[in-house]
């Protein structure tokens, strides 16, 4: 049984101008200790997906329209707020994008760091503080007892993200949701932070959902990958399948636009156009207007995620029907 099993999750935001469906029938499984990468351009609904799972979507204006998220036998989308609260910070830890704003500037590092211990484990202040010092040391922060008494503004961005990681992992959660943990950091720090998450994951045997808009971050870390666009899953499968043998033209285009996947000297590709307006109903493939391989049925026909025999799933109609594989231009790009 998977640790977390999400099916048909949809989340919308309501405003005077109408309803925007930001997450649309998303489903995935993640096993104990596994790493799942979720990638997609910004605005594709990755963060809202994470918040939906942990009850952090502001309601109103948001609503969870449908879906099920079974975590150890408990549906995260329907259980009581009290039950969900007892899971958050305890069995599910979260790391956010911007370490500059995600820590409370008015509270000392120590008092924020050990809060999950005092809330969920009922530890005394003294015990919690000792564990907090260990946790800071574990994420590579030196002079931890002194650092505990300091405030966030006395830490650099990378150091703050280390604190966030220590805080998310302090209760040895079964699942860590890391929403773009390195996006706001310097390139030199990014790799360190990713290594740290990987090392701690290994040590505590936690599953990790690693969200990013940068496919390069996912490669080499994640066992399975899911590509999101306009709130939907366009492609998913093992890392080898999705990153080395991508099928969906969107994944393709995404790779071509990233330095990590292009040959040195080749110019970076820019995907033409912009993501669709989600307040309007999209009939066909949401990527069709920007896709260089679109034909009539992409725009007008139904578009569904299809799991192929090898477990590699894509939502491209032309792939699922098999006709795109015959396209010489597509094949050329594919073998390049």
């Amino acid at each position: 049984m998977p640790l977390l099993s999400v099916t048909n999750l949809s989340t919308s935001f309501h405003s005077r101008r109408g309803t925007v469906r930001v997450v649309n029938s998303v489903g995935f499984n993640i096993d104990k200790g596994e790493t799942l990468g979720i990638a997609g351009e910004s605005g594709s609904g990755k963060s809202v997906l994470c918040y939906s799972l942990t009850g952090l979507v502001p309601q109103p204006p948001g609503t969870i329209e449908s879906g099920e998220a079974l975590f150890d036998g408990c549906d995260l989308l329907k259980c009581t707020t009290e039950k969900l609260r007892s899971i958050r910070g305890n069995r599910i830890g979260m790391i956010f994008q911007d370490p500059m704003t995600s820590l409370n500037p008015y509270l000392s590092i120590g008092s924020q760091l050990v809060e999950p211990l005092t809330i969920h484990r009922g530890l005394s202040k003294k015990e919690a503080s000792a564990r907090g010092i260990d946790a800071l040391t574990e994420v590579g922060i030196q002079d931890a007892p002194r650092r505990m008494r300091q405030f966030p503004h006395e830490f650099s961005g990378g150091m703050r993200q280390r604190v966030m990681i220590a805080m998310a992992l302090i209760n040895n959660p079964d699942l860590v949701i890391a929403d773009e943990p390195t996006t706001a950091l310097d390139v030199t720090v990014q790799a360190q932070i990713l290594d740290l998450i990987g090392a701690l994951q290994h040590k505590h045997n936690s599953a990790v959902i690693l969200v990013t808009h940068d496919l390069g971050v996912i490669a080499g870390i994640c066992k399975r990958v899911m590509i999101m666009y306009a709130g939907r899953v366009l492609e998913s499968g093992s890392a080898g399948q999705v990153l080395s043998r991508p099928r969906h033209p969107y994944t393709f285009a995404l790779q071509k636009s990233m330095p990590a996947f292009t040959k040195r000297g080749n110019e970076l590709y820019t995907i033409p156009g912009a993501p669709p307006d989600l307040s309007r109903e999209i009939i066909g493939c949401p990527f069709a207007p920007r896709c260089e391989f679109k034909i009539d049925k992409c725009v007008n026909g139904p578009c569904q995620l299809l799991v192929h025999k090898d477990g590699h799933a894509t939502a491209c109609v032309r792939i699922n029907d098999g006709d795109l594989l015959l396209d010489t231009k597509y094949r050329a790009g594919f073998t390049e």
């Binding site: 942990t54 009850g55 952090l56 609260r85 007892s86 899971i87 958050r88 910070g89 305890n90 830890g93 979260m94 956010f96 911007d98 704003t101 995600s102 820590l103 409370n104 500037p105 008015y106 509270l107 000392s108 924020q112 809060e115 999950p116 809330i119 969920h120 405030f151 503004h153 966030m164 805080m167 998310a168």
Partner: protein, 306 residues
């Protein structure tokens, strides 16, 4: 911290000097003198009085003498209350004003913070509009209207409390409410806007993600930052509560320092006026210093004295 306090105290000396100088000359410039309201004073008696209090000396000499006494902490003899010094009068009546002020401030904080927090949790709902409308009314209606109205309703019509005097605890209720109400209203509005600024921030989401209970998110994670506008308002508020207490003490016949100040001005009490002004001036300076210390304690990004 200590160096901040020492520097602050040194910085206040010129302020206090200016207060002493201005009030000293202003009360002397006002027409009449301390003994002009006493009828049937023979010129001989008047001359003796003036001599006794040193009013026969040149003004500048009086001023020099006054400053010399102040430095020693002696505010001089009262002109109006024979045989009593200004220090004594302050010592007996200030505790009453202090009690009134503390009660009013406590009430204002309790009421204002509660209303402000509740309003901020459901912005633009009834739970927001109702207390905020009341707060607006509280700010707009002046004390000299609220005081007599309350006295009329609870004192005369319902007979629950006395309308004047300062003997038992119920006597404190109406003056404290009258004095504290407008500040409760300001505090409610400031607290609401402060909280509304903090609640949507990322670090509140982090607290939720940690499983912090909602009440603790509000009282621990949000209030410390959300209360900052209220704390900076407490400086001017203490000044307002002190001057407001002049009016309230007169309305409810409270034997506090405010009433003495009003009377001293009417009576041209040449030592009482600068004395009380100096005392209140120092008090406000101390309060503002406490407010600054509290602010720096709440907001770790602020360093004292920078």
């Amino acid at each position: 911290m200590l160096s901040f306090i020492v520097r602050r105290v040194i910085e206040t000396i010129p302020t206090l000097f200016i207060i002493a100088t201005l009030t000293f000359f202003m009360v002397r410039l006002a027409p009449g003198g301390p003994f002009s309201s006493e009828k049937n004073v023979s010129p001989q008696v008047l001359r003796n009085l003036n001599e006794h209090y040193g009013l026969d000396k040149p003004v500048l000499a009086q001023y020099a003498g006054y400053l010399k006494n102040i430095v020693k902490g002696d505010l001089g003899p009262s002109f109006k209350y024979p045989n009593r010094t200004v220090n004594e009068l302050i010592a007996t009546s200030f505790p009453v004003s202090l009690e009134l002020g503390v009660l009013a401030t406590a009430l204002a904080l309790a009421l204002g913070l509660t209303a402000g927090i509740i309003a901020s949790l459901r912005p633009n709902s009834l739970a927001d509009y109702a207390p905020m409308t009341l707060a607006m009314a509280g700010i707009c209606i002046p004390t000299f209207v609220v005081g007599p109205l309350l006295a009329l309703l609870f004192g005369l019509n319902l007979g629950w409390v006395n309308v004047s005097g300062w003997h038992s605890f119920p006597d404190r209720v109406l003056p404290a409410i009258t004095l504290g109400l407008p500040y409760a209203a300001y505090i409610a509005r400031l607290c609401r806007s402060g909280m509304l600024e903090i609640l949507p921030q990322d670090f509140i989401r982090t607290a939720r993600a940690k499983g912090v209970p909602e009440w603790k998110i509000i009282l621990k994670h949000a209030l410390k930052g959300g209360i900052l506008p209220v704390v900076s308002f407490l400086g001017p508020a203490t000044a307002g509560i002190i001057t407001g207490s002049f009016v309230v003490e007169t309305i409810f016949q409270v034997p506090g320092l405010g009433r003495h100040f009003v009377n001293a001005a009417f009576n041209r009490d040449y030592t009482m006026v600068p004395g009380i002004a100096l005392f209140y001036g120092s008090l406000m300076i101390v309060f503002n210093m406490l407010v600054d210390i509290a602010y720096a304690w709440l907001n770790p990004r602020i360093r004292l004295g920078e």
